[in-house]
């Protein structure tokens, strides 16, 4: 039996009926058209489907859409300002933090959650913060470098109270 779910996706309120077994990742991709959230391993290990629920990172393949009732969901599409890129996106680009890019949205969402809690993480803290995400081509060294760079840019931006991105 279809179930009503009311939630906010990237700032837009939504309300619709879904089948209870619809996973959040499929809701985002198929109902909302937000295909930046990827389905990777299908066994809740790889983290490619990571999104933020009320600011906290979750694997959207391991949550039902109906369980997002009342929550604010942020996907990779909701991260950047309309006219530019988020500092993490810029840093992944500049530091070669991606090769095929399949895992990248999940890494960036997990890194967003990490930096919100810890604006200046050590190598070790970045490793632990991103331990739920797998990359199989670029490798983790450039990803770690990108997170350091974005963290510095975001700290500077926060200090200068300037708008981020772009």
């Amino acid at each position: 039996m279809a179930q009503l779910v009311r939630l906010t996706v990237n700032g837009s309120p939504r309300q619709e009926e879904v089948e209870p077994r619809l996973l959040l990742v499929h809701y985002l991709r198929e109902r909302c058209g937000l295909t930046g959230t990827h389905v990777g391993c299908d066994t809740s290990q790889c983290g490619a489907c990571t999104v933020l629920c009320n600011g906290q990172p979750v694997k959207s393949c391991s949550m039902l859409a109906v369980q997002a009732e009342g929550m604010a969901i942020t996907t990779i599409e909701g991260l950047a300002p309309a006219d530019g890129m988020h500092p993490l996106q810029t840093a992944f680009w500049e530091e070669h933090g991606l090769q095929c890019g399949f895992c990248t949205p999940g890494f960036i969402m997990a890194a967003t959650a990490l930096l919100a809690e810890n604006p200046d993480p050590t190598d070790e803290e970045i490793g632990r913060g991103l331990e739920g995400n797998l990359c199989r081509c670029t490798g983790y060294v450039n990803i770690r470098r990108a997170v350091h760079k974005a963290a510095a840019a975001m700290r500077e931006g926060a200090g200068a109270a300037a708008p981020m991105g772009g």
């Binding site: 089948e19 299908d42 979750v58 331990e131």
Partner: protein
Amino acid sequence: MIPAAFEYSRATSVADAVNQLRTAGPEAKVIAGGQSLLPMMRLRLAQPGHLVDLNGIPDLDYVRVKDGSVQIGAMTRHATLVRSELLRANLPLLAEVAKEVGDPQVRTRGTIGGVMAHADAAGDYPTVALMLDAEIVTDRRRIPARDFFQHLFTTALEPDELVVEVDFPVSTGAHRYLKFRRRVFDWAIVAVGVQRLGDGWRVGITHAGPTAVRAHAVEDALRSGATPAEAAERASDGLNPNSDVHASSEFRLHLAQVLTRRALEQAA
């Protein structure tokens, strides 16, 4: 992979959840954090006909200290346990273990009550519960941890019974939890916890059998004056772990001994 179809309802209180379980019958199951249940449903290893969602029940998410006990609400997330100053001050072993459960995404959703009720052989909290003689509080009774975990994925819970709290004794002495795994977010191949409590040690072993075990032989040896290295040789006493793709039975027995020695030596 899509789970098989099921009915879904949200519980608004513990009593409501129990009523819904009774009404829905034997095909019903509760969902807490869902970090084990949903992957199992996607693989169709589990196909409940009805899910009763506990996530909307208020007041099951807390850490409090009362009368020498650390009381943790069943829907308290791993992430909350990692951040809890109160837990770090009163039961630092569990705070340390919480950091090693899954990965940040899993810790956002997963709950302590869910881990207890699911009773995975590789679960980390059951080991701590056994070691410290914790009690699992349900909607109708208190169950000592030693009676709660019966076999693989099998607990003393009735089909319509709900875990509402887990009570641990305040334990602030030297402690350590060592978890051996290939990748940082994996389940333990074997893990060992040690805790200084009163004038003795408590020692527990994860994933060397269908349930966690308390290593009484190690505790007794330490009480009789054995060194950590001597006592750790007793860690494999009475164990008969499975072989699987991750490790042979012999390797698990070896790990139980080595990790016990290291945990005792490193405990602080």
